[in-house]
């Protein structure tokens, strides 16, 4: 009887550790990045955000149950020049004193087949919320997985770049927000380390 209950216990641990490793929920921020691309006078430019906080729960076998949220610290922008960084913090751009962060909250996730998925949600910047959809790929590597996707937005939907900057012939309206998020399963507290 004793050995049977032990086997039962092992079984339980095995099931729970599999369940845990399948669902990714711990974002590795040091390995993740959020960058953006846009066109300026027809020239492709890029930049990135140094600080953001991402939260997610994702099991590739149950995409409908997945959710994600990301908060981007707008003051952490890197446009490539300090002049650019200062400019976009201003009232005409992000007005980041009044609106310090951009936030994306998912409403649904679905599979597009193979390693491709799509997340829909609300993107809020500068006091304006817009529905947004981002296709992404998911590449699992053991207990870790990498999400890579792009969110296409129109900056004027959020009044990013007002006044003379609203002229989209110098800075294009279309902006791609590219995310590379690396996450692993929550440490399985119940499972003993081998």
């Amino acid at each position: 009887m004793k050995s049977l209950s032990r086997w039962f216990l092992y079984g339980l641990i095995w099931v729970s550790s599999v369940a845990n490793s399948a669902e990714l929920s711990q974002v590795q921020h040091d390995k993740s990045s959020v960058s953006f691309g846009y066109k300026q006078m027809g020239v492709a430019m890029d930049g990135k955000f140094r600080k953001f906080v991402a939260k997610l729960n994702f099991d590739p076998s149950k995409p409908a149950a997945a959710n994600a949220q990301i908060d981007i610290d707008l003051a952490s922008i890197d446009t490539g020049t300090s002049e650019g960084d200062e400019e976009v913090a201003g009232k005409q751009w992000f007005n980041s004193k009044a609106f310090p962060s951009a936030k994306f909250v998912s409403t649904s996730v679905k599979s597009l087949g193979a390693d491709r998925f799509e997340v829909a949600g609300k993107l809020s910047i500068k006091g304006k919320s817009v529905d947004a959809i981002a296709p992404f790929t998911f590449k699992p590597q053991g207990n870790v997985g990498a999400f890579d996707g792009t969110l296409l937005i129109k900056r004027l939907d959020f009044a990013i770049g007002e006044g003379p900057w609203a002229d989209v012939s110098t800075v294009a309206n279309e902006v791609q927000i590219k995310f590379h998020i690396v996450a692993n399963a929550a440490p399985a507290a119940a499972a003993p380390k081998k």
Binding site: G42, V43, D46, G80, P164, W165, D167, V171
Partner: protein
């Protein structure tokens, strides 16, 4: 000097010479002006126009060399030896800077991570990888070289005017369109 016996530069050489002069006369003050503007859409536009003008100067360099090889300049007009020497040195340096000034601008743009798309149509390759320090170093180069070009052009212009107004010889007219005899 007899106008009738004046041998001029070839038509192609004259065209490229004045086109280059005109482009430099616009690109130089534009460079100085845009540099001091606060960041604005207008500044971004002017930067692009400046780059296109400068790249055009660079593009004109190759046909210019080919024309010079195909149709060598007319033999020099009589003048003291030191003047001939001074002229050859100035011309050689002008050629060098006409190459280096736009090249340093292109290099700077690459290093600063703002690629050049000529006339908003033709993307030019980046000459170096994005690198902030290199970008500001190249900016110093571009500024110094364009100042050098400005000084040389001023000398060149002063010499041409001196020949025309004081010596009243055909030096300037050789580079002006007209009938060749």
């Amino acid at each position: 000097m007899n106008t009738q016996s004046l041998s001029r530069y070839s038509g192609a050489a004259i065209l490229i010479h004045w086109l280059t002069a005109l482009l430099i006369f616009v690109a130089f003050p534009l460079g100085k002006y845009m540099h001091d503007l606060p960041l604005s859409p207008q500044k971004l536009e002017l930067f692009s126009y400046h780059k296109w003008l400068g790249i055009t100067v660079l593009l004109l360099f190759l046909p210019r060399l080919l024309v010079r090889i195909a149709k060598p300049p007319p033999t020099a007009l009589p003048a003291p030896a030191w003047q001939h020497r001074a002229a050859s040195v100035t011309h050689a340096l002008l050629y060098l800077l006409i190459l280096l000034v736009p090249l340093s601008g292109w290099l700077m743009s690459s290093a600063k991570g703002v690629s050049v798309v000529y006339l908003s149509l033709v993307p030019l390759p980046d000459l170096v990888d994005k690198n902030k320090e290199l970008g500001s170093l190249l900016k110093e180069f571009h500024e110094a070289l364009s100042t050098g070009l400005f000084v040389l052009v001023a000398l060149h212009l002063a010499a041409a005017i001196k020949h025309h107004v004081i010596d009243k010889d055909g030096t300037l007219r050789r580079m002006l369109p007209g009938r060749n005899t």
